[in-house]
């Protein structure tokens, strides 16, 4: 099937078999490897991307269901050669260890900050509740999201 949608701000047309998920489409169809495959069951959150500004599990959503929608992956966070404030905050505060959960963490945080520019630490934890980090790095991740929150400056 042919799919037309917006990917990281640009129009995108792609071919995908019926049974592909958004994750298959991104990694295998479009060679965007920033979005990771973790559990495949929607539990770990490492495949989180944004669809129309809200977080989705790329491993659970059928590719067909992105038709006409706007997707943002970790590759789309950087704009005009400048890192997103979240990326800068994650780097400066050491909020990544192995890095496998990082794209999903940043996109879940991106959705939160778009809706709530001045979240509390509790709200950050709730927004990231579906993203697992097995390096035990939650403290620095939460600090980084709070540091990048535009309404808290």
């Amino acid at each position: 099937m042919k799919l037309t949608f917006t990917l990281n701000g640009r129009p995108c047309t792609a071919e995908a078999p019926d049974h592909w998920t958004v994750l298959d489409l991104l990694r295998d169809g479009l060679s965007l490897m920033g979005t990771k495959y973790g559990c495949g069951e929607g539990v770990c959150g490492t495949c989180t991307v944004l669809a129309d500004g809200r977080p989705i599990r790329a491993c659970l959503v059928l590719a067909a269901h992105v038709r006409g929608r706007s997707l943002v992956t970790v590759e789309g966070l950087e704009a005009n050669g400048r890192l997103d404030p979240l990326q800068t905050a994650f780097a400066e505060r050491g909020a990544a260890q192995c890095g496998y959960c990082t794209p999903g963490m940043m996109l879940a945080a991106k959705a939160l900050l778009a809706e709530n520019p001045a979240p509390t630490a509790h709200e950050v934890r709730a927004a990231l509740s579906g993203n697992l980090c097995r390096c035990t790095g939650y403290t620095k991740i939460i600090e980084a999201v709070l540091a990048a929150a535009p309404g808290r400056k």
Partner: protein, 289 residues
């Protein structure tokens, strides 16, 4: 890891969808958000030949409220229900229960109709919808029908859907005037898990503090979501004292038929029903939720 291949059908009307489901060649499954169905395919629990997606059917995700009821199209996502102003203002118990489903990204895709059709015993929305005496609107090859939610859950992961039927919408009557409601979810492993037990309640207290109306819905307490009828009967017309709340919780624990699974044993579930029914009733009385 790829999904086992299937053909995807994307009808643009409910009647086309019903026809696609009714075709006799191979096994068809209806897909809405896919959060449960795609997992089941990935895990090899089902191997459908054909998925019939409801995404392209206009109007199926609408959320409408009037003086008497809320009408949720089956394709309304849990995130949309949770954020809907009419739902938050008029049906706060339902908004609260929906907000407790899994994680934000699951609620973006998961739908209220999919949640009901899946007939999960440990559903968060179901106990709230049971308290609201919701009605499930079905579309099928032999026409439309409406099933009261108390008759909708028929068994373990089994909804009252006849072959070829699709959940089209849910009608949720307005809660009684002066009612207070709350939902508590107890998980035994991690915050985003299914509830070990979930308790929803709606109560109306008269001027003397007696229960004029009391409804208690339980998730994870039986093979299906249930109303704790004996607990309700024990409370009706009596003042909601600490002792009355304890007796009602005892009745709920007794009438529950919990299962044992990886989240906890049947005995532990029964004990947690006793604890959380009592705590919720006392909190509602004290205006704490």
């Amino acid at each position: 890891m790829r999904l086992t291949p299937f053909t995807l059908v994307e009808p643009e009307s409910l009647s086309e969808a019903l026809a696609a489901v009714a075709r006799l060649d191979g096994e068809a499954r209806v897909v809405s958000g896919g959060t449960a169905l795609v997992s089941m395919i990935r895990l090899g629990l089902i191997k459908p030949d054909r998925l019939v997606s409801l995404h392209r059917i206009p109007g199926m995700a609408e959320i409408r409220a009037d003086g008497s009821a809320l009408e949720l199209g089956a394709m309304a996502t849990l995130a949309d229900v949770e954020r809907s102003r009419p739902v938050r203002e008029g049906w706060p118990l339902l908004a609260e229960a929906v907000r407790r489903v899994a994680t934000p990204a699951i609620r973006t895709s998961g739908t209220i109709g999919g949640n009901l059709a899946y007939a999960e015993a440990a559903s968060d929305p179901a106990p709230a919808l049971l308290c609201h005496d919701a009605e499930v609107r079905l579309a099928g090859p032999r026409g439309a029908r409406t099933v009261p939610i108390r008759q909708f859950f028929r068994g373990f992961y089994e909804a009252a859907l006849e072959p070829g039927e699709i959940v089209a919408a849910v009608r949720v009557p307005r809660p009684p005037a002066g009612s207070r409601g709350g939902y508590v979810k107890f998980t035994s492993r991690s915050a985003e898990d299914k509830p070990l037990v979930g308790v929803a309640a709606l109560v109306v207290l008269d001027a003397a503090g007696r229960c004029q109306d009391v409804r208690i819905g339980l998730g994870g307490a039986a093979p299906t979501p249930i109303r704790a009828q004996r607990a309700e009967e024990a409370l009706l017309g009596t003042p909601l004292t600490d002792d009355a709340a304890r007796a009602a919780a005892e009745a709920a624990a007794e009438e529950a038929e919990p299962l044992s699974d990886l989240m906890g044993s049947a005995d532990y579930r029964r004990e947690m029903i006793r604890v959380w029914v009592r705590r919720l009733l006392v909190a509602l009385r004290d205006g704490a939720t």
